[in-house]
């Protein structure tokens, strides 16, 4: 019986022999960015296979305006801001949530409801970031708040969906991709079928898990598809991902949220790419509950996060990278988030 190490060596060999064409494969999930870096995947591949990072890091694609709104809420009286740790250090105008004592890091969104119960005199606002994996969790949290008649809780929705961003990338003339490493846990929720649309752009995709073996298998399958001139969307994470996904989770997501236009940091507005809270649940929508002044804030000068998120450029192409922009003093979100492209490059390469 072969162990994981042996299997990976076999795959390295197979990929080496099979790969003829110079290719670019994009991974579209912050956790994949981390896994590719952590498992040193690039060091095991031939030089003609290039792995690039896409806009799969929810913190990295959160607009400056949304970050500023979170800070405005943190600064205002009587509020407790609940957030996943990913958001704490994102800077906006030299400020960040880390500077505020009324900001609490939570592991699960349901922890925010506990905090609401324990602090009846204060308003609890949950910062909603994440794609199709996380949004159903926020949907359940909102529904639970409604069922339990919790009045001092709301969500600032900055949620987004993956397909529209992918379509933008795949239709962009500046970017040439041969395949996509598709997000394993988003697919667990949405199902494999959800990503069939990439075939319309003559791009193949493989849904992958996050262990070294999963990613190497994925790259082998992508290489094979390219060399055999096949355009297909393969599910290689069958232990968790099914054809249809978790339909209950998707139903709950769309019961509470609906599609809306949304500004992605560095990319601009993408129609139907965001998720906003439906009218039925608007009592839990922080944008409606609080009169937050919305300003359009310009992104920092010379920051190339937008092009990096779209894989048009790599971090070393940005003049700020490793100079003024470092993990300790991040200027753009790709450096702030621990699995942003720039942070991963800085740390691992």
């Amino acid at each position: 019986m072969l162990n994981e190490y042996d299997k990976i060596q076999i795959l390295r060999d197979k990929i080496q022999k099979l790969s003829r064409t110079k290719v670019s494969f994009m991974e579209v999930c912050g956790t994949h960015t981390m896994s590719v870096a952590k498992h040193a995947i690039k060091s095991m591949l031939p030089e003609n296979i290039n792995i690039v990072s896409g806009p799969g890091c929810p913190v990295c694609v959160t607009s400056q305006t949304d970050i500023e709104m979170s800070l405005i809420l943190a600064r205002s009286e009587n509020k407790i801001i609940c957030t996943f740790g990913d958001m704490i250090k994102v800077p906006s105008r030299k400020d960040s949530l880390a500077n505020y004592k009324n900001v609490k890091i939570i592991y699960s969104p349901l922890d925010a409801l506990k905090i609401a119960h324990e602090n009846p005199g204060r308003e609890i606002i949950l910062l909603g970031i994440g794609f199709e994996t996380t949004t159903p969790l926020i949907a359940v949290t909102i529904k639970t708040a409604k069922q339990e008649c919790i009045k001092n809780f709301s969500v600032l929705s900055m949620h987004k969906t993956v397909p529209t961003a992918l379509k933008l990338i795949l239709s962009s003339p500046d970017i040439s991709l041969n395949g996509l490493i598709l997000p394993g846990h988003v697919s667990a929720v949405t199902g494999r079928k959800y990503f069939d649309f990439i075939k319309d752009y003559h791009t193949c995709g493989v849904i992958a898990g996050f262990e070294a073996l999963d990613i190497m298998e994925c790259i082998y399958l992508l290489t094979k598809s390219v060399e055999e001139n096949k355009v297909e969307v393969i599910n290689n994470y069958t232990r968790i991902v099914s054809e249809e996904g978790n339909q209950l989770a998707m139903q709950l997501l769309y019961e509470v949220f609906e599609d809306c236009d949304c500004k992605w940091r560095g990319i601009g507005e993408i129609p139907n790419s965001g998720l906003k809270i439906r009218e039925k649940f608007q009592a839990y929508d922080a944008k409606i509950k609080f009169d937050i002044p919305i300003e359009n804030i310009a992104e920092p000068k010379n920051c190339r996060c937008g092009e990096i998120l779209m894989a048009k450029k790599t971090p070393p192409d940005c003049a700020l990278f490793k100079n003024t922009c470092t993990p300790l003093n991040p200027i753009g979100p790709c450096m702030v988030s621990s699995e942003g492209t720039c942070a991963a490059y800085y740390k691992y390469l």
């Binding site: 994981e4 190490y5 990976i8 060596q9 390295r12 912050g30 956790t31 870096a37 952590k38 498992h39 040193a40 995947i41 690039k42 060091s43 095991m44 890091c57 929810p58 913190v59 996943f84 740790g85 990913d86 704490i88 250090k89 890091i105 592991y107 922890d111 970031i129 994440g130 996380t134 070294a212 073996l213 190497m216 470092t326 993990p327 300790l328 988030s337 621990s338 699995e339 800085y346 740390k347 691992y348 390469l349």
Partner: protein, 330 residues
């Protein structure tokens, strides 16, 4: 519940009695209880004296596996040991917050006593101050320590050589996870204890046996990676860690997986990194009763780097820790 008051800090009767009855009865050793303004240490024969100081501010004061008392002795003893010194004496200074529970203070002093005996070190002089309520966090402690370095010993972060083995004396990350649990930063149900302990005795035994050691470093704040970076830069070597050989307790690995932490950056308070020529490694493993492990190797380098050979055979750089690790969803 008897507590510390500002009167205890006045230098008068109450302070004198407090020191005599609480501190001296527990820590007396022939020198301390003389209560001279300076401790007189006689007949010291050494060409090199190591001197170090550290302050301890920890919350909570008592945590699974230890307390600030144990920590303040171990931290300074271990610091002295990393330069190859045999720790000899400590100073002990308290800054106590008004209102501090005397029973807790008792526990801390008992712990200092027990740990000092375990490390075979004398506490020879001290100081006690009291600050107003709200101006301290229960208690802050400073310990300074002296130790003697034998003539033939050359141990420093500048001393790692080409082809050296790199060892760690036990599993990493336990202290920081225990502290996070003690501070309620993680809500999962788990049992993990701080690894805080003095490490001077096994090192002393190795040095007595003339086992050659090159660098010793304690991977405290910033974890294994940060400590190794110092050796990499000072000794101008590449160090490559072997991922499959890193000792990490399952419970620590589980927490890291759940919240997205990297165990390489988690603090330890009872571990050493040791670099040495290959012949020394088995002696080190024996001295640490089998928990020490070879985790990598050093190689002379013009452009020093810290690298990881992954479980699958890939190679990557290990980055420096720039910011605090936080639980994440991504």
């Amino acid at each position: 519940m008897p507590t510390i008051t500002l009167n205890h800090g006045l230098g008068g009767k109450q302070m004198h009695e407090f020191i005599k009855n609480t501190i001296m009865t527990k820590l007396q050793n022939g020198i301390l209880e003389k209560m001279d303004d300076s401790a007189i240490l006689k007949n010291l024969k050494t060409n090199r004296l190591a001197l170090t100081t550290d302050s301890y501010v920890v919350s909570p004061l008592i945590f699974p596996g230890g307390d600030i008392g144990r920590l303040c002795v171990c931290g300074t003893v271990n610091d002295l040991t990393t330069s190859g010194a045999k720790p000899y004496a400590l100073t002990l200074a308290f800054i106590i917050e008004e209102g501090m529970d005397l029973a807790v203070l008792d526990t801390i002093i008992d712990s200092i006593n027990k740990t000092a005996k375990e490390a075979q070190i004398l506490i020879v002089t001290g100081d006690t101050k009291v600050v107003e309520k709200g101006k301290g966090d229960g208690i802050f402690i400073n310990t300074s320590g002296i130790g003697f370095i034998d003539d033939h010993i050359e141990i420093s972060t500048y001393n790692t050589k080409d082809h050296d083995d790199v060892l760690v004396t036990g599993p990493i990350g336990n202290h920081e996870i225990a502290m996070m649990k003690a501070r309620n930063l993680i809500e999962f149900d788990l049992t993990v204890e701080s690894d805080v302990r003095p490490l001077n005795i096994p090192i002393e035994n190795l040095l007595k046996q003339k086992v050659l050691l090159h660098s010793i470093k304690d991977p405290t704040r910033g974890g294994l990676a940060s400590a190794l970076y110092e050796i990499v830069e000072h000794s101008k070597v590449d160090i490559t860690l072997i991922e499959k050989d890193l000792p990490i307790d399952k419970v620590v690995q589980s927490v890291c997986s759940l919240v997205g932490f990297d165990p390489l950056y988690l603090a330890n308070e009872g571990k050493f990194i040791i670099t040495c020529p290959k012949e020394s490694s088995q002696h080190i493993i024996k001295a640490f009763k089998g928990t020490a492990q070879i985790i990598g190797r050093a190689k002379k380098s013009e452009h020093p780097k810290l690298l990881m050979e992954t479980k699958s055979g890939g190679i990557r750089k290990i980055g420096m820790l720039e910011t605090m690790q936080l639980p994440r969803i991504c």
